[in-house]
C-alpha cells in the first residue's frame, strides 16, 4: 500500500486463506483496488517446483497487476 501510494505498481501475493483478510485490510486502509494476486494455500515449506507451478498459474494476473497504473488514493 505504501508503494502504491508513492506511484510504484505492485502485485501483492496472498493465498486464498488470506484473500478475505487482505481485501478487508485494503478496504480499511482505503485501498480497495490494490492489486491482489491469489494463489492456492498453503505455500509454507512447499517444494520449489510446486511454488513455481502456482505462480505460473497466475501469470496473467501478475502481469496485469504490475502493468496496471498505480492505485489512486481513495476516500
Amino acid at each position: 500500500m505504501h508503494l502504491e501510494r508513492q506511484g510504484v505498481p505492485t502485485a501483492t501475493f496472498v493465498t486464498h486463506a488470506f484473500d478475505r483478510y487482505a481485501r478487508g485490510l485494503c478496504r480499511m486502509q482505503a485501498m480497495q483496488t490494490l492489486p491482489i494476486v491469489v494463489i492456492a494455500h498453503p505455500i509454507a515449506a512447499r517444494p520449489i517446483a510446486q511454488l513455481q507451478d502456482k505462480v505460473r498459474g497466475v501469470k496473467s494476473d501478475l502481469i496485469q497487476a504490475l502493468t496496471t497504473g498505480p492505485t489512486p488514493p481513495q476516500s
Binding site: 488470506f18 478475505r20 478487508g24 485490510l25 480499511m28
Partner: protein
C-alpha cells in the same frame, strides 16, 4: 494511516431489568462487539461516572486505532471499559495504555493483523497498583482480580470495536492465546530488591505508569533445584532460546524478549550480587542457539542475522535480541522459584507511559481528577 474515520454514535436503551441485560449481551455478540464473553451495558450514567476520572473532553481524540483506523475518544474508551467490567477509576490506566499501543514502535497494525499469537500485556507500575488493587503477586497472570481481568479486557474490546480486530477477517492469529481475552499484571516493586521497571525507563518511583508489551502466553520455567544464579538463569535462557520462537530469527531487528521472576527468586539472586543489568547480560550471552541449529527451520531466512554474527559459521551463537538492553526483566508472582518467559514476535517494542493530566503533570491518585 492516521486518517480518522467518522462514526455514528449508537445508542441502545437498556432498562434496569436483568432480562434486558441478557438481551443486551445477545445483541452485542450478534453485532461482533464482544470478545465472546458477556458485556456490561455502557449506560449514560455509567459512562458519565467513568468520565469523572479524566480531565479530557469526552469527544477528544485519544488515538487512532489500526487496522480500521477507528477514532478512540475518551468516551468510546470509557464505553468499552464499562463493557469489560471496569470500575470508573480504571479509566486513566486504560487511556494511557491505548496511547502507548498506538506509538509507532509498538507496531499495533502489525500486531493486530499477524498470524503470531501476541496479546497486549498491560503492566501497571507505581502507586496506582495499590489504589486500584492490581495483582502483582500470587497467580499474577491468572484469574480472580477485577483490576487485572477487566483492564486487560477493556483493551481487547477497544481493539475489536474501535480498531476493527476480527478473528479470521483482520486478526489472522493461527491459534491465538488466552491472553487475548485479558492480559494484565502489576510489577511487585515492593518485593523486588532492584529498581522498578518504570524507574529503569526514567520515571520516578512515585510516578504511576503503564507499559504495553505484545507477548505470547507466559511460558513457565520451573527450576526449584539450581543452587547458583548461573544454573538457575541458564534454565531461563534455555526456555527463552526456543527453536520455535521468533527471537532467534529476528534478533537483528528491534525487538524485545522478557522474563518475569518472583520476588523470592529476585531476593535470592540479589544475595549473590546479581542485578537486573547482570541478568540481562547473562541472558543475552546465554539465550542463544547456533547458526547450524537455526538453518532452514523456524523463521530462517526471513530476516538478516545480527551484524555481529557470522552467518557462514555454523557454530556462531545467535542471540534472541540485538542487545542486552532489549531483554526485559520484571519481578512479579507468588511463592517459589517459578519464572515465566514473555516471548514476543520480535517486531514490536514495549512502550511505557506515565499516568498524567492532560497537561502532562503526573497524577498522584486517580482521585486527582475528582478535585
Amino acid at each position: 494511516m492516521n486518517e480518522r474515520k467518522k462514526t455514528t454514535p449508537i445508542q441502545f436503551a437498556v432498562n434496569d431489568r436483568l432480562d434486558d441485560i441478557f438481551q443486551f449481551f445477545e445483541h452485542c455478540y450478534e453485532q461482533g462487539w464482544t470478545d465472546g464473553l458477556p458485556v456490561y451495558p455502557p449506560t449514560e450514567k455509567a459512562v458519565n461516572e467513568m468520565l469523572r476520572y479524566t480531565d479530557r473532553e469526552p469527544d477528544e481524540t485519544i488515538a487512532v486505532v489500526p487496522p480500521k483506523n477507528g477514532v478512540a475518544t475518551t468516551r468510546t474508551i470509557a464505553i468499552n471499559a464499562i463493557m469489560a467490567g471496569c470500575k470508573p477509576e480504571y479509566l486513566p490506566v486504560i487511556i494511557a495504555a491505548v496511547q502507548a499501543m498506538v506509538e509507532p514502535e509498538y507496531n499495533l497494525y502489525g500486531r493486530q493483523t499477524t498470524t503470531h499469537p501476541g496479546a497486549h500485556l498491560l503492566i501497571v507500575h507505581g502507586p496506582i497498583r495499590h489504589e486500584l488493587q492490581v495483582n502483582c503477586k500470587q497467580n499474577v497472570f491468572g484469574e480472580g482480580t477485577r483490576a487485572n481481568a477487566t483492564m486487560g479486557r477493556a483493551l481487547r474490546l477497544i481493539l475489536i470495536n474501535i480498531g476493527g480486530n476480527k478473528p479470521g477477517i483482520t486478526d489472522m492469529a493461527t491459534h491465538g492465546q488466552p491472553g487475548k481475552y485479558s492480559f494484565c499484571m502489576g510489577e511487585d516493586e515492593e518485593g523486588s530488591p532492584w529498581p522498578a521497571f518504570h524507574v529503569e525507563r526514567g520515571l520516578h518511583a512515585s510516578t504511576s505508569a503503564v507499559t504495553m508489551l505484545c507477548a505470547e502466553s507466559p511460558h513457565n520455567i520451573n527450576d526449584q533445584v539450581s543452587k547458583t544464579p548461573e544454573m538457575y538463569l541458564g534454565s531461563a535462557a534455555s526456555t527463552m532460546a526456543t527453536l520455535g520462537g521468533n527471537g532467534l530469527y529476528r534478533s537483528a531487528l528491534q525487538g524485545e524478549q522478557g522474563l518475569v521472576i518472583t520476588a523470592e527468586s529476585a531476593q535470592w539472586l540479589a544475595e549473590f550480587g546479581w542485578t537486573k543489568p547482570k541478568i540481562r547480560d547473562f541472558l543475552f550471552l546465554n539465550a542463544r542457539q547456533t547458526v547450524g541449529q537455526l538453518r532452514n527451520r523456524g523463521a530462517w531466512g526471513k530476516s538478516p542475522l545480527p551484524d555481529f554474527i557470522d552467518g557462514k559459521d555454523d557454530n556462531a551463537r545467535v542471540p534472541i535480541v540485538n542487545k542486552a538492553e532489549n531483554i526485559l526483566v520484571l519481578v512479579a508472582g507468588g511463592h517459589q522459584r517459578h519464572m515465566n518467559a514473555l516471548l514476543t514476535a520480535g517486531y514490536s517494542m514495549s512502550i511505557t507511559k506515565a499516568l498524567t493530566r492532560k497537561n502532562g503533570t503526573p497524577i498522584t491518585s486517580v482521585r486527582d481528577f475528582l478535585l
